[in-house]
């Protein structure tokens, strides 16, 4: 198992100290990302998806729990303390392409940074140029873009530059934090397809964070659903969409707006939600979903449910199953 | 409530700390002055003994920190800022004499800046890109780039021939029995002398305008751009569609957020008024604090300089604190996040 795993997350926990008390953004999360797979992370806004992504790339370290990279390296440490190789192997693409590119630098200058930083040796000017061009060509942008400033290119292309920048480091694993949610559908399609191609070509693993269930359906191999810092369900994509177990997941799937009757048929029965979304500062006791759950029982209010394997590779975390 | 009380307390402590540091720095700076202020203040006939004695009396022969501490205890316990070598009397007396007038002048100027600056800024913003806007913009540009003394002189010339409607020779005499604070207009008000009050205000008119005009212009520009920015904001359109009346829309929905940058700039303008007033005080013969500051500096009067810098520091800090509080009151985003 660990042979094949790219990322293994165990009991990962992250707390933030805020003015109003301790905020538990991630509350004991376990999952594994296999080599060469796209792992989707979906869920409510504020449920802790980005926090997990940040811990993987090392923006900050976790409060508790471990993250293992490629089965042996412990990466539950912030990037500052990580080796150069680790920094190279784990890369990141942000949600907002506008702010993730320095507006004062040309695409060439932007791409030069990782090329130079992660080169195995001192590069000559020509080699550098070559690699920068390669990185750009890889994401399907013409060479002419090298001399453009970010503001002169469109949103989707900017995101592709971000991807190129991540690829220029020759990573093994990329965290994609909502890479397409700032983009139009048509551009989103372009970027997603490119990402998928690159993943296959370079044998990469992705952590793909998003809100868009339809997108997840089409690109992820496996996915986990988060709710208030916890993973509530975790399965193969196909299995997940055909056989959702957790009430929150069912609710989520039922509310996906779709384009055709054909799709409509794939959605589960609609569940009427009750209650209000609680704030992570005041996390409810027991099952975090119970205030909104139409099926809640008394046990849900007191006991935190454990993750259970419903079918092989399909885990859910609910007292009702 | 308690939270904002804490915030204010914290700001005050912070301010006190800065002022202490400031006084210490000025003290060490004064020590660097070439020449001997004590000697030159006593005149050419003074004997070495007298000079030495006077120096001792003023603590100038003690180590810096001792002198500073002595001065500090004087200030804290007796409100005693030391003796001026220039007026030969307690600096605190000088301050009491000169500061109230200048503060009054600056307070009136500050009022003018706020009222006129906001008025013209609003006017320009509401009539954006019309001749009204262009005219106001042109005038405010001139106002910003013209030195205050030029305005002073122009007013002097214009009103000298007005024969007294707006006097240029300083204040009317306030009979001693009415003097309470030292600020002429305030004193008149406090003692109910309204005729005299009107006279004081007439005397204040020209210097006030001259001191304020540059800031008025600047303020108007800032207010205009801040209004223009907000006019285009979605929430104005939203309120408009939702049917909020035009008057309320402008006076409340538009004005309140527009005031945030205006107020920040206003604080800086007001805090620097007093320091820039000396030419105007000179031209209009207001024997105020700014003039006094100029004189103690020109005369290298150590305790005077220290007092003057500290007073300026206090004014700056207090004004800024008030502005911070004001901004926090206007802007819940700052208040609720505790300024983060």
């Amino acid at each position: 198992m660990s042979q094949n795993s790219m990322i293994e997350v165990k009991e990962l926990r992250k707390e933030f100290k805020t003015k109003f008390g301790t905020l538990i953004a991630v509350d004991g999360v376990n999952f594994t990302i296999q080599k060469g797979e796209i792992f989707g992370l979906v869920g409510e806004s504020g449920s802790g998806k980005s926090t997990i992504g940040s811990m993987l790339v090392g923006t900050y370290g976790p409060t508790a729990g471990t993250v293992t990279f490629q089965g042996d390296t412990d990466i539950s440490i912030p990037a500052k303390r990580r080796s150069a190789q680790l920094k190279q192997e784990i890369q990141l693409v942000f949600q907002d392409p506008g702010s993730s590119l320095n507006p004062r630098k040309t695409v060439r200058q932007i791409l030069t940074v990782p090329v130079k930083q992660f080169a195995e040796k001192r590069l000559s000017g020509q080699e550098m140029e070559q690699r920068v061009q390669d990185a750009l060509l890889q994401v399907g942008l013409p060479i002419g873009y090298l001399d453009k400033y970010p503001r002169a290119i469109g949103g989707g292309e900017k995101q592709l530059v971000c991807v190129a920048r991540a690829l220029a480091a020759h990573p093994k694993f990329i965290v994609l934090d909502e890479p397409t949610s700032a983009l139009d559908v048509s551009i989103q399609a372009k970027v997603t397809n490119k990402l998928r191609q690159l993943q296959q070509k370079n044998d990469l693993s992705y952590l793909f964070i998003t809100h868009n269930m339809c997108l997840v359906r089409n690109i992820c191999d496996r996915l986990a659903v988060m709710y208030l810092g916890n993973i509530c369900e975790y399965a193969d994509t196909a299995e997940f969409f055909t056989n959702p177990k957790h009430p929150y997941t069912q609710m989520l799937l039922a509310s996906i707006p779709v384009l055709s009757d054909e799709e409509e048929a794939l959605k589960p029965q609609k569940i009427k939600s009750v209650g209000e979304i609680p704030s992570p500062l005041h996390k409810p006791s027991g099952c975090p979903f119970h205030p909104r759950c139409p099926f809640k029982k008394s046990v849900c209010e007191q006991e935190t449910p454990q993750m259970r394997e419903v079918s092989p590779g399909h885990f859910a975390c609910c007292h009702c199953i | 409530m308690k939270k904002s009380g804490n915030m204010i307390l914290k700001k005050i402590l912070h301010m006190v700390f800065i002022l202490l540091l400031l006084s210490l720095i000025v003290f060490s700076f004064i020590r660097l002055i070439p020449g001997d202020p004590v000697k030159s203040s006593l005149g050419p006939l003074a004997s070495e003994d007298t000079i030495a004695q006077y120096r001792h009396q003023l603590y100038f022969d003690r180590p810096l920190l001792v002198q500073w501490f002595h001065w500090l205890t004087g200030v804290v316990t007796r409100g005693d800022f030391g003796t001026s070598l220039y007026t030969h009397r307690a600096v605190s007396l000088d301050i009491a004499q000169y500061l109230p007038k200048s503060l009054e002048l600056c307070a009136l100027a500050a009022l003018l800046i706020l009222v006129l600056g906001v008025f013209f800024g609003t006017l320009a913003a509401l009539f954006k890109n019309t001749w009204v806007d262009n005219l106001i913009r042109f005038i405010t540009y001139l106002g910003v780039v013209t030195p205050a003394y030029a305005f002073g002189i122009v007013f002097l010339l214009i009103f000298a021939y007005g024969k007294g409607a707006f006097p240029i020779g300083g204040f009317p005499t306030i009979p001693a029995e009415f003097v309470r604070t030292g600020a002429p207009a305030l004193d008149c008000l406090l003692s109910g002398q309204f005729a005299l009050f009107v006279k004081c205000m007439q005397s204040y008119f020209l210097p006030c305008i001259s001191v304020a005009i540059g800031s008025i212009a600047y303020q108007a520009r800032i207010h205009r751009s801040s209004m223009v920015e907000n006019v285009n904001a979605d929430y104005i359109a939203f309120a408009e569609v939702a049917g909020v009346s035009k008057g309320k829309l402008i006076c409340k929905h538009l004005m309140k957020p527009s005031f945030i940058p205006t107020l920040t700039v206003y604080g800086l303008q007001v805090a620097s008024l007093l320091g820039n007033a000396f030419i105007i005080e000179n031209i209009f013969r207001i024997n105020g604090f700014s003039q006094y500051a100029l004189n103690v500096i020109l005369n290298k009067d150590p305790y005077g300089i220290i007092a003057v810098t500290i007073i300026f520091g206090i004014i700056f800090s207090v004004v800024n604190m008030l502005v911070d509080i004001g901004v926090a009151m206007l802007d819940p985003r700052i208040r609720l996040r505790g300024g983060q």
Binding site: A189 | Y235, G243
Partner: protein, 325 residues
């Protein structure tokens, strides 16, 4: 049925530093009584601009508007009385709830000002009661607390619901909703869409709604306009348009949307929206169109009825095809 909103030949330019943006060259659309109409299109194609023009708030200085008719409830909006009529009959929900609420005023103040303009003389208590009702009608929990808050104290979903409740406080005949659900979670999005739908159906109002979520449009509208770079390129009943798009642009949009069926994603439409300074003189979509011909680059296609007449499309290729049929 009577037309609640009728826009004919609207053209809008924005005067910016670099020059004139010819955003909308000449657009017509209408919403009839009781209809729910959708407006879809890529980012920056002028949807918000059209809605603002309809609500008579497109008067901020950079915008220059020319129009043959904008009629709301049969009355042209270009006069003082017309604007008054608009204010009375139109409510609008803005695109971004975080910018649509005044950050410096409490929710209660903002709602109160709206109420006061409608019911000038009421007691304080009845104002409060009305505000609470409005909030409750969008199933807002703890309305008292919300009233006493500033916008930043509310979450995005709550803000959007406040916006909706404020917009609906007026009993108007037309609701204009500009992406009421972007930046919301799917579950909340659904709630809000249902609420909107409910209100429209229940109270017999008309609705014009813009959204990037094509699924949402499909769910709550009867008719849909497809917009590209300031032009309407296709119109029809929602069902028809979504089932058999005629314009290559519509086709591209739909194809690019990921499906729940999970059979991959088409490659999206190549290229970008053209710049609005000196836009192409022919079809604005020509540069990105797989079916573009020389004619498309020379001449701008106009909306032509296809079939029954409830269906319109502005594409030479599609029109030819229809004729050929």
């Amino acid at each position: 049925m009577a037309e609640i909103l009728k826009i004919e030949n609207l053209s809008v330019q924005y005067q910016v530093y670099e020059g004139v943006l010819e955003v909308i060259p000449g657009l017509s659309l209408h919403v009839r009584e009781g209809e729910r109409v959708g407006l879809i299109g890529e980012t920056g194609c002028g949807k918000t601009t059209v809605l603002k023009a309809a609500a008579a708030v497109l008067h901020c200085p950079p915008a220059k508007m020319q129009v043959d008719t904008i009629e709301v409830c049969g009355m042209a909006t270009n006069s003082r009385a017309g604007v008054k009529n608009v204010r009375k009959n139109v409510s609008m929900i803005f695109q971004d709830p975080s910018t649509a609420l005044n950050p410096t005023l409490k929710i209660s103040t903002q709602m109160m000002d709206i109420l006061k303009s409608q019911f000038p003389k009421l007691s304080r208590a009845s104002y409060t009661e009305k505000m609470m009702d409005a909030l409750r009608s969008v199933s807002m929990p703890a309305p008292e607390r919300v009233l006493d808050s500033y916008p930043i104290q509310l979450s995005g979903g709550m803000r959007q619901r406040v916006c909706i409740s404020m917009a609906l406080m007026k009993d108007t005949r037309l609701i204009i909703a500009d992406e009421p659900t972007t930046a919301l979670d799917v579950t909340i999005e659904e709630q809000i869409l249902e609420l909107l739908d409910h209100l429209v159906q229940e109270k017999k109002k008309s609705l014009i709604i813009v959204s990037h979520a094509l699924g949402a449009i499909r769910k709550i509208t009867d008719y849909v306009y497809v917009m590209y770079a300031g032009n309407i390129v296709e119109y029809g009943t929602t069902r028809e348009v979504f089932q058999s798009p005629l314009h290559p642009y519509t086709d591209g949009l739909l194809a690019a949307t990921p499906k729940l069926t999970g059979d991959g994603i088409a490659d999206g439409i190549a290229g970008d929206i053209p710049r609005y300074i000196n836009p192409p003189k022919g079809c604005r979509f020509a540069d990105r169109c797989p079916r573009a011909s020389a004619q498309c680059r020379e001449q701008a296609p106009t909306l032509q009825p296809i079939g029954s007449g409830e269906r319109l499309v502005a594409c030479f290729a599609a029109q030819k095809e229809a004729k050929a049929l």
